[in-house]
Subunit: 275 residues, 2 copies
């Protein structure tokens, strides 16, 4: 059973129902220890107001989601995307987030060269090192599920994330987000979690439903699917991670249609029985 004080709830679990102000108030009311903030909601109220409200509740911030998508083959587009990551780094510092979750961006139809796209993203990450160090923010690169390779992430495996961290060689600035939903299928998962070790800066959980109907927005509540979440959590802990365990469920057909207080209550229950 996970330590209940390590629970974080990603705001995306109740994205359509609650503003950031409502999410901060709601999670605090339910005694949830930590929140992960979604950038579009942060922008609605602004950094200072978000900071004031978070400080008022004592909620920890396990992460800011997300920045990145720097994979474009067009140099101007890629530079603009990197500038946006720098803004996100400042935002993460401003709300004292444990990390900034980074998504690489996908390969697009104009440029089918996957190896070149990956090389571009790795080069772009290196250009963000100084800004992140200056702000005291860890960029936690997140491999996504291979089904997101064209839309969001050419970083498709934890092995590649480890390879990129080896290449970047700046462990104070670059870490890894391990998400059980996007990595559970990987035969190399135990070895690559062990290899990641202290690089792990965020750990996300949700469940894979047997009747999954959408490539992005059909994640399940822990316990409703097939992922061995306790086993993966124990691997991550054995690797040295002791931060928050963040429940991150995008669910257009189910949880996004529910009463948000019920969503939070269910997450709290399932966290102790299924994670």
């Amino acid at each position: 059973m996970p330590d209940p004080t390590r629970l974080s709830i990603n705001q995306i679990c109740v994205l359509p129902q609650w503003s950031l102000a409502q999410a901060i108030e709601g999670l605090a009311r339910h005694s949830v220890p930590a929140i992960s903030v979604w950038r579009e909601k942060l922008h609605e109220i602004g950094l200072a107001e978000a900071r004031r409200r978070i400080d008022g509740t004592g909620l920890a911030v396990s992460g800011l989601c997300f920045a990145g998508l720097i994979s474009s083959a067009d140099p101007a587009e890629a530079a603009k995307a990197r500038d946006d990551v720098r803004r996100a780094i400042d935002e993460a510092a401003g709300i004292d987030a444990a990390c900034l979750v980074f998504l690489s961006g996908g390969v697009d139809a104009r440029d089918k060269d996957l190896a070149a796209t990956r090389a571009r993203v790795l080069d772009g990450l290196a250009q963000l090192e100084d800004h992140a160090r200056g702000a005291g923010v860890v960029i936690a690169i997140e491999p996504l599920h291979p089904m997101a390779c064209v839309t969001r992430s050419v970083l498709t495996t934890l092995k590649l994330a480890n390879d990129w961290c080896d290449a970047l060689g700046a462990e104070d600035v670059f870490g890894i987000t391990v998400d059980a939903y996007v990595t559970w299928w990987d035969p190399e998962l135990p070895q690559q979690i062990a290899r990641a070790g202290k690089r792990i800066r965020a750990f996300h959980v949700s469940d894979w439903l047997t009747d999954t109907q959408d490539l992005r927005l059909d994640r399940g509540m822990p316990g409703d699917g097939v992922i061995e979440l306790p086993a993966i959590r124990r691997m991550v802990e054995a690797a040295g991670y002791s931060g928050h365990v963040e429940v991150e469920i995008m669910s257009a057909r189910n949880w996004w249609k529910r009463d948000p207080d019920d969503v939070v209550r269910t997450i709290k229950q399932r966290f102790v029985t299924e994670v």
Copy 2:
């Protein structure tokens, strides 16, 4: 450009439109060199009739699709599934198919133990060796896309397929199907195709659409998506494969609604320009 005499069209490209008899006649009429047969369509007309019609046209048979799904934790269910694979082996022999495409089966909600499921499938495969050798049929195990891990295949990477072939140690009987659609995202693809070498007994192509809407039935026509098909084909050829290149498109929202003769004409055109 691929050798046009190596084109095979998987019957599933026109599954709802044509019976097996119609597919055999249609592909022969369009001078397509080879067909890959879908078992449910074979059962409609029976093995003897299928053999007679195929022989009458001179079509080669690049594969029989598919058998497997032997992953159940229930011993009786698993034994029944293995018996069905044995029937499929006999069918593959009966139509002189170059291989029998094998799908492992997924992990189910009753048994979330992915490692144990994989071990069961590998053990089940070993039990099929003698029957396959007796029939002179190659079982071409196919890793599927990780998004099929719960529905169809705990075999999620080409690396694991190679590991299984190492463990099985019967290269005359067990080979590998490389499908570009389900493996293109894999950072290890070049190394694992090279490692597979002569194990490659089938090579399937289709394209990943940027707006993919379904986890199984939304494959694209070569050229309509983002996969570098010529690059992957060249890797497979460099590994020593010189068999048919099989176009396999399941497309519920597009190609399954088209005139089947148009589908075949389009495949023939795209094969030389996009594969």
